[in-house]
């Protein structure tokens, strides 16, 4: 019981962290109180929402102070002349400070680069730009140039002067009474030095790729299976009508689906324009858009599931016709069998997709087959009005009329049947 309470308290605490950060954004900016609030808010945001670098990365022990060796002539230098584009500067530094044999090396034209803590004494005057990596820059004297730190703070002591701009990545500027001639820019989090401790991500192995893809395919088809089971459970008659429409009018379904895809956007445009022009319809516009999108999704997914159902039913009936003993030939089974067949294409890609050329061919085939069948399913859903209209489902008489009594009392073949008044009327084409 106490464990549960502790867990609940921890969870509440973790959930309240972001809201606490946001809570500080509301200020009443009047006078110095407002300024203090702004800075208070900022401190809170930085402490709470900063990336891991801001939290602990800056606290790592700094390396032994030393000069950074210049980079080979083949590599571009990092100019600190213009710090007005800090993101560009960050990417340049990231490239220059990437891991290499013999440690980091960087060339700063008209300046110096230092690793570890660095201090400018009160009687010192340093001319040129200064780059300090993984160290704190303490300025007691004068720096006639720009100052950039990477994962390190800048402390400007009373009397200290930096004539140019200051830019920090993964640090902060503490102005304790010094003078800064230029602009101060501070990123409290930075990814500049992540490259130093992290190697280039290796390309995933074939096994890992296969595993990831198989997991993805299984996930997608399990989701489709769950949706299909729901459809069978709550809308089997409609699913069966759409499925039968695909089986009996595949070409017509495909053509309808293709046309439907082409007309999706124009129809949507007409709907929107029509509602706007009707003035009153403007109110309904958001709902109409949502409903339209939902209907399209339902038609596409439902049609695809109906294709799976039709494939499963055809396969199962053929096996039954061949005398195979099948436990329960029902819609659930049809759906599983059909989805399994559809998944087979993608499973083949999952397993052999890494093979050059062949993998791309398999993927192309899987996409093509999925699109063909999806289009047919979408078309069947449109033709049958989501399974309401069985005109193209190959049902000559309504299923509800096929009772035992009807079949027993009504001659189906021969002269008697032909002479019967009001003989069965095909519903096809109505």
């Amino acid at each position: 019981m106490p464990t549960r309470r502790i867990l609940a308290a921890l969870t509440l605490g973790a959930l309240s962290v972001p809201s606490a950060a946001h809570a500080g954004t509301r200020i009443d900016p009047t006078g110095s109180r407002a300024v203090d609030l702004v800075h208070g808010f900022w401190t809170l945001v930085s402490e709470v929402r900063g990336s891991p670098d801001a939290g602990d990365g800056a606290q790592e022990p700094h390396p032994t102070p030393q000069a950074l060796a210049p980079a080979p002539p083949s590599e571009p230098p990092v100019s600190l002349d213009d710090l007005s584009k800090p993101i560009t500067m960050e990417s340049r530094l990231r490239a220059a400070l990437r891991p290499r044999k013999g440690g980091a090396r960087v060339t700063v034209p008209g300046g110096t680069a230092r690793l570890g803590d660095f201090s400018i004494g009160s009687n010192e005057s340093v001319t040129g730009h200064l780059l300090v990596v993984q160290g704190t820059a303490d300025v007691y004297g004068k720096l006639l140039g720009n100052l950039v730190t990477v994962e390190g703070d800048v402390v400007l002591h009373p009397g200290g002067v930096v004539s140019g701009d200051i830019l920090t990545f993964g640090g902060e500027v503490r102005d304790e009474g010094g003078e800064i001639g230029g602009e101060v820019r501070t990123f409290r989090s930075s990814s500049v030095l992540r490259a130093l401790v992290r190697t280039e991500p290796a390309a995933p192995s074939a096994v890992a790729t296969v595993f990831r893809r198989v997991a993805g395919v299984v996930g997608v088809f399990l989701t489709l299976g769950a949706l299909g089971f729901g459809l069978v459970m709550f809308g089997r008659p409609n699913l069966e009508v759409v499925s039968d429409t695909i089986s009996h009018s595949f070409a017509r379904s495909f053509a309808t689906g293709l046309l439907g895809q082409l007309l999706l956007l124009p129809t949507f445009g007409m709907l929107v324009v029509g509602l706007i022009l009707s003035v009153i319809g403007i109110v309904l516009l958001p709902f109409a858009v949502v409903v339209y999108v939902l209907l399209v999704i339902i038609a596409a997914v439902g049609g695809y599931l109906a294709v799976a159902h039709a494939m499963g039913e055809t396969y199962t009936r053929r096996r039954l016709a061949l005398g195979a003993l099948i436990g329960s030939p029902n819609s659930y089974r049809y759906l599983i069998v059909g989805l399994g067949a559809l998944a087979a294409f993608w499973m083949a890609w999952s397993i052999f997709g890494w093979v050059p050329i062949a993998g791309d061919l398999i993927r192309g085939a899987a996409i093509l087959v999925t699109w063909l069948l999806g289009t047919a399913g979408f078309g069947a859903a449109l033709l049958s009005r989501a399974g309401i209209r069985p005109n193209f489902a190959g049902r000559l008489i309504p299923p509800e009329a096929l009772t035992d009594e009807y079949l027993w009392a009504t001659p189906q073949f021969g002269v008697t049947a032909a002479k019967r008044p009001g003989s069965r009327t095909p519903t096809r084409g109505l």
Binding site: T3, L7, L10, T11, A14, L15, V17, P18, H22, T25, I27, P29, T30, G31, S32, A34, V35, V38, H39, F41, W42, V45, S46, R49, G50, S51, P52, A54, S84, P86, I87, D175, E179, I180, G181, G182, E183, V184, R185, T186, F187, R188, S189
Partner: protein, 284 residues
């Protein structure tokens, strides 16, 4: 069961840091070195924005928490012309991310020194803004709001005379409060669709002329009694209720307009919508 708890805890604790990965805090400021004037351009694409007078020792400051995947902070001071460009620009990166929008909410706090004359040019995209301009030395104001909800306040009198304030809004909800404190000689507002509230409260030290153009929407005028108000209207399918105003020719005047020491002349042009007049509490 323990494993389930552990997994749930890991997910809960990892969630904030996952969102924080793309949110970056950035600060920029410049010390005040006796600058008498600054031309500031603030271009803020999206998020929450607060603007106010800041520390006298800082010419300007911007503290922003921004979406590092989609936006770039701008901070560029031009010493030659005494101008600064601040804000957030879209980086052009697109794509779908499965992250709660609220967790990627950008916020910015921008302050300017109350010791330097300020010419302010603000462009807002999809912004929830609160701009407190009272206490600054505002000489010019240009505000352009896209799909924003913004409040511009002059809670305290402007420390210097303001030549003009030009406000424009696309599909926005804009409230400008305490225009009497703005000390602007000329105020112009141009709106597309939405609702605008122009509150002329505050301390009036001079006369002013106001031009309001609104295509489709509602204009709410909150008028003071201590100045003479004249409203001229150019409307098409708009309604106007001249509460407390007397019609003279093509204008609507407040009682005692001719005798008033300071005048507020408002010309409203609107196509579709309504213009409402409200007298400030305690003013009548």
């Amino acid at each position: 069961m323990r494993r389930l708890h552990l997994a749930a805890m890991t997910l809960v604790l990892a969630a904030p840091s996952a969102a924080a990965q793309s949110m970056r805090p950035f600060s920029t400021y410049r010390q005040w070195h006796g600058e008498t004037r600054i031309d500031a351009r603030l271009d803020y694409a999206a998020g929450g924005l607060r603007l106010a007078a800041g520390r006298p020792s800082e010419l300007y400051r911007m503290d922003v928490l921004y979406d590092g995947d989609r936006y770039l902070p701008v901070s560029d001071y031009d010493a030659a012309r005494g101008g600064v460009a601040l804000g957030l620009h879209a980086s052009g990166q697109r794509g779908l991310r499965v992250v709660s929008k609220g967790r990627l909410r950008q916020t910015a706090a921008v302050t300017f020194s109350p010791k330097s004359d300020l010419s302010l040019d603000v462009t807002l995209g999809a912004v929830d803004g609160d701009l407190e301009l009272g206490g600054l030395r505002l000489t010019d104001l240009a505000l352009e709001a896209g799909a924003s909800r913004a409040t511009v306040r002059f809670s305290r009198p402007n420390a210097t005379r303001c030549r003009s304030a030009t406000l424009s809004a696309g599909a926005a909800e804009l409230s400008v409060l305490g225009l009497g404190n703005s000390r602007c000689d000329r105020i112009a507002f141009e709106g597309g669709v939405g609702r605008v509230t122009l509150d002329f409260g505050g301390t009036w030290t001079s006369s002013s002329s106001v031009e309001v153009k609104m295509a489709l929407g509602e204009v709410a005028l909150r008028l003071p009694r201590q100045v003479g108000v004249r409203i001229t209207l150019d409307k098409f399918l708009a309604t106007f209720e001249p509460v407390g105003l007397v019609r003279r020719g093509g204008s609507y005047l407040s009682p005692g307009y001719d005798q008033a020491a300071r005048h507020l002349d408002i010309h409203v042009t609107t196509a579709v919508g309504g213009v409402t007049v409200e007298w400030l509490s305690g003013e009548r």
